[in-house]
Symmetry: C2
Subunit: 502 residues, 2 copies
C-alpha cells in the first residue's frame, strides 16, 4: 500500500484525535473509509498505532490526496515530522469496548476492565462518543463503591506518579461550587510554615469563575516543571502550582473534556477524579472539604454523609489517610469572586489587615488546623490554635512571599477590570440568602477566569443589613460585551434575597 | 459586536456541525470560547441560530481571524453565501438536555420530552456526545414500551410525511443480519403486479455487505425526487428507491450516525427507527421479518417473541396494521452476497431460471403472500399461492422491468469484480453451519457494498454435501488490497462448519 505523506493541520480538536483525508485519496474509496470512522495510523515501526477519527476533506490546500492530515494534538502525539510516510487502516474497536457495553447493560465491571478502559483512553483509542458512552453508563448510581476504587486505581496506574520521598505529604481538596472559596492560598503557607510538606497542584477553573491555579497565577508563575516543583518543595515545604504539566491521572483530563460539555453529575467519577489526582501527586494525607447548602453542589447533610463514606471507602483502600470535613456552603466565602478580586481577599488575610474577610480567614484556619493535626506531634484539637498562631504571627505571610519568589513573581500583576457597576438593593432589610450559582454565572459572564481582573466584589453577606439603593456587589469586566452580558444577567437573575430585619 | 465573515471549509464532518474560528480572532479571547464548546451562529435575521461545535484554527489559510468557517454540511444548513456577515455567541444547552439527564438517572420520559429531544436533534442542537448520552441512556432495557411509542411518534413528527392518498399502502422490513437476503426486490414486483401499492424506500448498507438501495442501484437509479416517486407509484404501483432523499424521520439518520460507531444494540431505538421511517413514508400495512438463528441478530425464539410484542404494541397505537413473521435466520439466503452478486440471484428468480436459489424464492413468496393477504379480497391462507402465480406467470418479472425503466435503467450496470478466488472445503462431509457474521465481514472486506461487484458467491448451503477441495464460496474483489484482506480473513476465520455425513 502506498504510504501517505504526513501533514500537520493547524486545527485544535482538544482531546479528540482527528485525521484529515482528501476525498480523492485512492485509499478513501478502496478502503471504504467514511467520515467519523476511526482509523489507525502507523509509521512503519513496531510501536502501537495512533487512532484518530476521520474527517473527509474536499480542499487540497488543507490536505492533498497524497497526504494525511493530523490535528495539532494528534500530530504531537504521533511524534513524527511533517512529510514522514504513514500508512492507515481501519481501527479495530478498542479491546475494552465490550466492557463498556456490559456496563451499559447494567453489569458491574472488574478491576481488569477499568484498567483496560483507562489504558485505551490514555492512548486516545476512544472517540468522544465512546467516552460519552462510558461516562453515561457510569453516571448516577451506576457504580458500585468497589468500581469507584478500581477506576481510581486504574487512573493512577495509567499516568505518572510523583514521589516526594517523605512519609507525610499533605493535601486538601474542596469539591467546589462555592464562589470565592480560595482557602488553599491560605492553607498552604500556614501548613508549610509549620514545616509540613504540602506540594499543592491545582486545576484551572472548569465551570467556576476561578480555580486556585488561575488565582495563584495573579501573583506568580504556576506552570512549573517537575524539577522546579521538587526544588521549591525542598526549600519551602510547599507551593501552589498548576497540575497540568505533570502527567498525573491523564485519563481524568480526557474524561473531564467530555463530562464538562455534557454537564454530567456522577459521584463515582468525581471521587475517582479527585483521589486519582491526589494519589498520583504523591499525597499521603488528604483533607476533603464538602460544602453543603441549597445552592451548593451538595444540598443536604445526608447527601454529604453518603459522599463522605464513599471517599473514606476508596481512601482507606488506597493507603491514603483521608479526612472529610462538611462545611457551610450556603453562600460565597470571602468578598471577591474572580482571580484578582480573590487574591485581594487572600492577601488581606495573610497580612492580617482589619478589612480581611472573616469568613475566609475562619474557614482557612479550620482546614489548616485539621491538616496540622495529621502531624503526630500536634495534639488533637490543637490544630486551629496552631494555625491561628502561624497566621497572626506573620509567619504564614512570610512563607507565602518566599513561595511566590520561588515560583517566579508575576512582574506585572493584573489589576481589577476597567468597567465597574454597583448592583444595588431594591429594598431595605437583611440579606437572607445569596445564590452561589447565580453569583458564579454572573462572574463568568463578566469574563472570569480568562480575564483575571473580571468578576464580582460582594459588599454584603448573609445576615447583614442593607438600605435600599446601597450596593450589594460590584461587577468588574474588561470588555464592553462581557460587561453588558453580566449586567443583563445580574438584573434579570437577582442573586440576593433581602427580607425583613427581625 | 463586529460580525465575522462566513467561509465554507471543505471538511466533511458528517452529521455533526463544526465551526472553525481562528485563535487570534478577538472574539475567541473576549468571549472565552474553547475548543469543543458549542456556539450559536446568527445571520442577523430572526430565524433560529445554527448550533455548531467549535474547533480552533491556527492557520489563516483555513480561516483568518476575521472569518468564521463552517464544515460542508453546516454551511449548507446555514444557507447563507460565503462572505455573509455572521455573529456568534455561546450556545445555551438544548432545552431537552434536562430530560436526557433524567433518563440517565433512570426515569422514564414523557411524550413531550421525546418530542422536544427530537426537535433539538433535528435542528442540530445536539453534539455527538450529547446524542451518545441520550442513546446510552435509552440502551438495553432502558425504555418502557410507551417510551418507544413516544420516540417513534416524535421521530415521525419532526420530519416530513408522505401521503399516497390511498387506504392500503403496504411495506415490509427485515430487521437484518442475514447476508444475501434480498427478498424486497422480489416482493415489490410480485405485490405491485397484483395491483397493491408498495412504494418501497430502502436504506443503504450500514454494517452489512449490501442494502436494498445499493442492490437496486445495480439495475436502476434509486436517487429519485418525491414527484418522480409519486409518478412511478401511480403508473406501476411500486418502486424500490433510496429513502434518503425524502426528509423522513431525519432524527433517525442522526441517531444512527452515532449508534453505528458505538455498536449500540438497543431494541427500543431499533423499533422506533424502523416504524418511524415506515409511518413517515405513508405506509398503512407493514410486514416485519425477524430472522432467528445462532449468528442472526436475534438468537432465540423467545427473544423474537418479545420483539414481536413490542412491534405490535407500537404498531397498534400508531394506526399501522402490522404483522410480524419469524423466519429461519440460521444461514445466508440465496447464493450471492454483495450488490451485483445478489442482483444475479434476484433476476434468476424473477425469470424462473432453473438455477435460481430456491431458498430466496421460497422466502420471497412467503413474505409476498403475507402482504397480499392485507388485501381484503384475498382469502386468508391464499397469499402464497397467489404470489407464486404472479411469479411463475412472468407477471412479476414484467412488472420489475417496467419499474426499472421508470426509475431509469442503469445504462452501464456493474459486473462481478475482477479478482476471484475459491475458498475450498478442507475435508469431505456435509455443511453443518454457515456463520452469517463471518460471511458478512468477509464480503465487506472484499469491498461490498461500495464496490458493487465485490462480495461472495456461496456454492454450498447447510445440509449439502461437499468433497475435500471443492469450492465452498468464491471471493470477488475489485482492488488487490481488499482481495488480500478478504482472503486473509476468510482463511483465518472459517465461516463454514463441515461435519460427517450421517
Amino acid at each position: 500500500m502506498t504510504p501517505l505523506s504526513l501533514k500537520p493541520v493547524a486545527i485544535d480538536t482538544y482531546k479528540e484525535n482527528v485525521a484529515y483525508l482528501h476525498r480523492d485519496c485512492p485509499l478513501y474509496h478502496s478502503e471504504g473509509f467514511q467520515a467519523l470512522n476511526k482509523i489507525e495510523i502507523r509509521d512503519g515501526s513496531e510501536r502501537p498505532p495512533v487512532v484518530a477519527v476521520l474527517n473527509i476533506v474536499d480542499d487540497a490546500s488543507i490536505v492533498s490526496p497524497e497526504e494525511l492530515g493530523l490535528s495539532e494534538q494528534t500530530f504531537l502525539q504521533f511524534g513524527m515530522e511533517a512529510g514522514s510516510p504513514v500508512t492507515i487502516g481501519h481501527a479495530a474497536p478498542p479491546v475494552s469496548i465490550p466492557a463498556v457495553h456490559a456496563k451499559i447493560g447494567g453489569e458491574p465491571l472488574q478491576q481488569s476492565d477499568y484498567l483496560q478502559i483507562c489504558e485505551d483512553i490514555v492512548n486516545n483509542r476512544y472517540s468522544k462518543i465512546e467516552i460519552a458512552a462510558f461516562l453515561v453508563a457510569c453516571a448516577e448510581s451506576g457504580m458500585e463503591r468497589d468500581e469507584i476504587l478500581y477506576l481510581t486505581e486504574a487512573m493512577v496506574e495509567t499516568g505518572d506518579r510523583l514521589d516526594w520521598g517523605e512519609p507525610l505529604v499533605v493535601d486538601k481538596h474542596c469539591i467546589g461550587g462555592i464562589p470565592g472559596n480560595r482557602t488553599t492560598m491560605l492553607v498552604v503557607p500556614i501548613v508549610a510554615a509549620h514545616g509540613m510538606l504540602m506540594p499543592k497542584t491545582s486545576s484551572r477553573a472548569i465551570t467556576s469563575p476561578a480555580g486556585t491555579a488561575d488565582t495563584m497565577e495573579v501573583l506568580a508563575r504556576v506552570n512549573l516543571e517537575p524539577h522546579e516543583l521538587k526544588e521549591i518543595a525542598r526549600h519551602h515545604r510547599g507551593f501552589i502550582a498548576w497540575g497540568g504539566t505533570a502527567n498525573l491521572s491523564p485519563v481524568d483530563d480526557i474524561l473531564i473534556s467530555v463530562e464538562r460539555p455534557l454537564a454530567l453529575d456522577s459521584k463515582g467519577q468525581m471521587i475517582a477524579s479527585i483521589l486519582s489526582k491526589k494519589i498520583a501527586a504523591g499525597s499521603t494525607h488528604l483533607l476533603i472539604d464538602i460544602p453543603v447548602g441549597p445552592t451548593a453542589k451538595v444540598k443536604s447533610q445526608s447527601e454529604a454523609m453518603k459522599l463522605r463514606k464513599l471517599f473514606e471507602y476508596v481512601g482507606d483502600r488506597t493507603q491514603l489517610e483521608l479526612e472529610v470535613v462538611i462545611t457551610d456552603g450556603s453562600q460565597p466565602i470571602g468578598n471577591g469572586v474572580g482571580p484578582v478580586l480573590e487574591v485581594q481577599d487572600v492577601l488581606k488575610v495573610l497580612k492580617n489587615e482589619p478589612t480581611a474577610p472573616e469568613d475566609l480567614r475562619h474557614k482557612a484556619l479550620l482546614l489548616a488546623g485539621r491538616i496540622l493535626e495529621f502531624d503526630p506531634d500536634v495534639r488533637g484539637g490543637e490544630g486551629y490554635r496552631l494555625a491561628r498562631d502561624l497566621l497572626d504571627s506573620g509567619r504564614a505571610w512570610e512563607r507565602m512571599q518566599a513561595i511566590i519568589e520561588a515560583q517566579g513573581r508575576n512582574p506585572d500583576p493584573p489589576q481589577p477590570a476597567r468597567h465597574t457597576r454597583d448592583v444595588v438593593a431594591d429594598r431595605s432589610g437583611v440579606v437572607k440568602a445569596i445564590d452561589n450559582l447565580l453569583i458564579a454565572r454572573t462572574a463568568r459572564l463578566a469574563g472570569a477566569p480568562l480575564d483575571k481582573g473580571a468578576g464580582l466584589y460582594l459588599h454584603r453577606k448573609v445576615g447583614e443589613r442593607v438600605k435600599k439603593g446601597e450596593p450589594l456587589f460590584t461587577i468588574y469586566a474588561e470588555y464592553p460585551a462581557d460587561f453588558q452580558f453580566a449586567n443583563d444577567f445580574a438584573d434579570s437573575h437577582p442573586a440576593y434575597t433581602i427580607g425583613d430585619a427581625q
